[in-house]
């Protein structure tokens, strides 16, 4: 991301740089103090000053030595740069959300400068807009227009290349189909002119013609069936290959990529976009060459037969093309609208059905009914409108194109009467004309088909070009984890302008149990996400046994950690499969042992199907506590070296919690454990506790030390004791 925009020489001159003074950063601000869009604002940071330039004139200037700390505050839809000067907070400038990230870096850079250091901050973040054509860049940072427009054919060719042999056969079939389609009217003409119209028509010749027509007719059916067969197979095959590659790739992408998107959107890419490719291959690609070939051949042949009549029949082609093109936009809009309305109905339905308990318990069925009826009516109205439009439009186009045939008939008919042309030839001509119109209509569809294909391929490539996470060449270290974990000046934020963890320093000895406490939203779960290697830290380092986590071979690393999360997710399948998830080859003994440790064996045994009990999509047949216990069994099955418990026992009743705590204690001994808990009693065995507050480690030490300190932890302990006391009283 650019932090140094160009400054014109005039502005540079007006800055009046003093002696050693050097320009560090220059970035635009796009909103005026009054909140209007502007395009001529620029913020310049030098070694000594911050200068605001507007329309080429220096507006304001602040000395860096007066500034204690600068920060970029996020506001609704934008942000502002604020400097603390002594006791005073000084507003410097504001900007739209577009520049939030840039200003977060600038604030960091200014803080470095005002502390008297001179290193420059650089942003690794990607720009979102193509600098050449100003189109939005795809996730991979490529411009869909500049990088790929010419490359579509290349991409398409690359996609179909592995299947070239099949495609060759399909092409042969296409040419055959074209030849046969063209030959049929010719036989017709011979039949009419040489047999039927002649007084002494040869019956054998007639039969021969009919037979020929029959053979060609049957031939075209056979060829078309074969062609469709191969095309469908090819389409399905290509789609299948892409789908599999896509899914495989999707799983290797950083979690951030998946989290940033609606699940539906990614599902669309895997299911719908590959579906589009399949459709294109079997419907369009399959006929493309046939149609193109026939089209050219028909045009040439018609011109050869009678160029005047040919031109006459071409006259209506532009009309037909114009009609279809003109209405396509409106058709597309109408049907897209219908699709959106349908979507409204189904999402409302989904909303109400999944919230049925709430609707019923508040007795709001009547109101929900009204709302649904409204949406349903709207949908019906749009659908009805569209059908009516379609019913009118389609015959209208046919009628217009049909009048072209009439014109040909009128002109050709008069020629036939004047004996300038044979009846057979006229018939042949008319068949070709009809054919021509059909293909023209078909071809007007092509641009849209191709645009759809391009869009789908773009979206697929967009995912495919994403860098896989942790699959750099150096991510290949396989270490047997001993359990030493170090955070060194680690910083991380899901969005770069909103840090969640800042400058985390922590060294954990092998086998140590670390309890993590702190208010909700302080960054506890984030810390654990980093530890699990789900996200990459922005700054600093995270070392496992002295090796940076991003250098560890992923699968091998993950096999050695056990995780129980707040929200337990069970896959559709049996309890056995769910426990075995981390280690599919675990023996029955191991599974039972793990379940016993997790205090799950008892309730599982009581179920009719035991460990083979099927748990639904999200394990709905089980209670929260039961699901959590299965998750614990899953985590401990692998005998992990590193155990991560994020509120692992929060949904359990006190008795189960106590028992699992006991069991876990046995398990934890000798393993490095990180445990987040709100109930502090859960952490009484922790060797050390860290309190995370305000994005930082606020306190760290043993229970006694922290109580001694009388800080945040002390307050938490007191509050919980109080709560119990007052409940008891």
């Amino acid at each position: 991301m650019n932090l140094k925009y160009d400054i014109s020489p005039e502005v540079k001159q007006k800055l009046n740089l003093r002696g050693e003074e050097r320009i560090y950063y220059s970035i635009p601000y796009d909103v005026s103090d009054e909140g209007k869009w502007i395009s001529d604002g620029m913020l310049i940071v030098t070694t000594l000053r911050v200068v605001l330039v507007r329309a080429g004139e220096v507006e304001k200037s602040y000395d860096l030595k007066d500034i204690v700390k600068t920060r970029a505050e996020v506001t609704v839809g934008g942000g502002m740069l604020i400097a603390r000067m002594g006791e005073k907070e000084q507003y410097i400038t504001r900007y739209s959300a577009k520049h939030r990230t840039r200003y977060a870096y600038i604030a960091r850079g200014m803080n470095i400068l005002s502390r008297g250091r001179s290193e420059e901050v650089e942003s690794k973040e990607k720009e979102k807009i193509c600098p050449t054509c100003h189109r939005a860049l795809s996730e991979s940072g490529k411009c869909p227009h500049c990088d790929k427009q010419g490359g579509f054919f290349k991409n398409f060719m690359k996609m179909i290349e592995p299947y070239w042999e099949r495609i060759l056969w399909i092409n042969v079939l296409m040419l055959l189909a074209a030849g046969v389609t063209l030959a049929n009217p010719h036989l017709q003409r011979i039949l009419v002119d040489d047999v039927l119209k002649k007084a002494d028509g040869d019956i054998r010749m007639g039969i021969l013609c009919l037979f020929g027509m029959f053979v060609l007719g049957a031939g075209i059916v056979v060829i078309n069936v074969a062609k469709s067969y191969y095309c469908t197979r090819l389409g399905a095959r290509i789609a299948k290959d892409i789908r599999e590659r896509l899914f495989d790739h999707l799983q290797k992408l950083p979690l951030q990529f998946v989290n940033d998107r609606r699940p539906g959107e990614l599902m669309n890419r895997v299911v719908n976009d590959t579906g589009h490719i399949r459709e294109f291959m079997q419907d369009t690609f399959c006929n493309m060459f046939t149609v193109a070939f026939i089209f050219v051949a028909v045009v040439l042949y018609m011109l050869y037969l009678n160029w005047k009549m040919a031109l006459l029949s071409f006259l209506f082609v532009p009309v037909g093309v114009w009609m279809t093109m003109a209405f396509r936009k409106s058709i597309h809009r109408r049907f897209h609208l219908q699709y959106l309305k349908e979507d409204d109905v189904s999402s409302n339905l989904q909303d109400v059905l999944s919230g049925m308990r709430v609707v019923k318990s508040y007795g709001k069925e009547e109101r929900e009914k009204d709302r649904f009826n409204e949406l349903s009516d709207e949908y019906a109205r749009v659908a009805w409108n569209n059908e009516r439009f379609w019913a009118l439009f389609n015959p209208a186009v046919h009628l217009t194109l049909g009048s072209g045939v009439f014109l040909v008939l009128l002109y050709g008919g008069s020629k036939v009467i004047n004996e300038e042309m044979t009846a057979g030839m006229l018939m042949q001509f008319m068949t070709y004309t009809t054919m021509l119109y059909q293909y023209v209509q078909w071809m007007t569809n092509m641009p849209r088909q191709i645009t759809n294909l391009i869009a789908s391929m773009e979206r697929i490539n967009d995912v495919m070009n994403q860098e896989e996470y942790g699959h750099g060449e150096e991510a290949d270290e396989k270490i047997e984890i001993v359990g030493k974990v170090e955070f060194q000046h680690a910083s991380f934020g899901y969005k770069s302008y909103e840090p969640v963890l800042e400058d985390i320093n922590l060294t954990v000895k092998p086998g140590e149990m670390i309890g993590i406490v702190g208010p909700s939203g302080a960054g506890k779960s984030t810390l654990i996400n980093l530890l699990m290697g789900l996200y990459e830290i922005d700054d600093g380092a995270l070392l496992i046994d002295g090796v940076p986590i991003e250098k560890l071979e992923r699968e091998h690393f993950h096999q050695q950690i056990g995780v129980v999360l707040q929200e337990t997710f069970l896959f559709s399948g049996t309890i056995l499969n769910n426990i075995r998830f981390a280690k599919p080859d675990a023996t029955y003994e191991e599974v039972v042992e793990a379940a016993k440790l997790a205090n799950a064996h008892e309730f599982i045994s009581k179920m009719a199907d035991g460990y083979n009990t099927y748990v639904g999509e999200k394990g709905f047949t089980l209670s929260g506590g039961e699901r959590q216990r299965i998750a614990i069994a899953r985590a401990i099955l692998t005998q992990p070296k590193l155990l991560i418990l994020d509120e692992a026992t929060a949904s359990l009743d006190t008795e189960s919690e106590f028992m699992i705590q006991q069991a876990l204690e046995r398990l934890i001994s000798g393993r490095t454990t990180f445990a987040i808990a709100h109930r502090l009693s859960t952490l009484k065995n922790a060797d050390r506790l860290i309190v995370i507050d305000d994005h930082k480690i606020a306190e760290a030490g043993t229970h006694e030390e922290l109580v001694e300190q009388k800080g945040l932890y002390y307050r938490l302990v007191k509050a919980q004791l109080e709560m119990q006391a007052s409940k008891g009283a």
């Binding site: 103090d33 209007k36 934008g78 507003y91 939005a136 959107e265």
Partner: protein, 181 residues
Amino acid sequence: MRKNDNITNEYQETVDQMIRTERIDKSNAKFEKTEGGFLKLSFKGKEYPRVKVVRLFPFTEPDRYLSVRDPGNKDREIGLIENLHDLDAATEEEIKKQLNLYYFTPVITKVINIKSEYGYAYFHVMTDCGECRFTINMGSNAVVRLSDTRLLITDLDDNRFEIRDVLALTQKEQRKLDLFL
């Protein structure tokens, strides 16, 4: 445990604060502009060197129910202004300026052009903050319906744009927007 433990009292106080609503009006509060461009407040004998003003119902009641908060103390609420117009004119003006500083949601008044390409839609519009161009990703929830006729559009950069009343746009503009409605 002794009941008058100071931490307990502190929590009690916090709870009280959490539940209580302080009303800020012209009789008990004095807002003043600071040198740095923000607002300071003296309220019930306390001085706040800088306060933030937050809209509780930004879409439906932009000038009512404004929460005044203290950035020096974890953004805790100091009090509530029930209606901006109840304050004296000068204060009202200052608070409006602060709100304007903290809220940037241009309202689209005219749709000049919308072009969609490669899964993105390019908007060229007139807003109450001036003419502007922005881009949305059509695959994400970029357009949210606040009501049947009111839209909130979020662009690639997380800028937000509002259309107050779709029906107030011309037929032609509405047709351009149709795909997103």
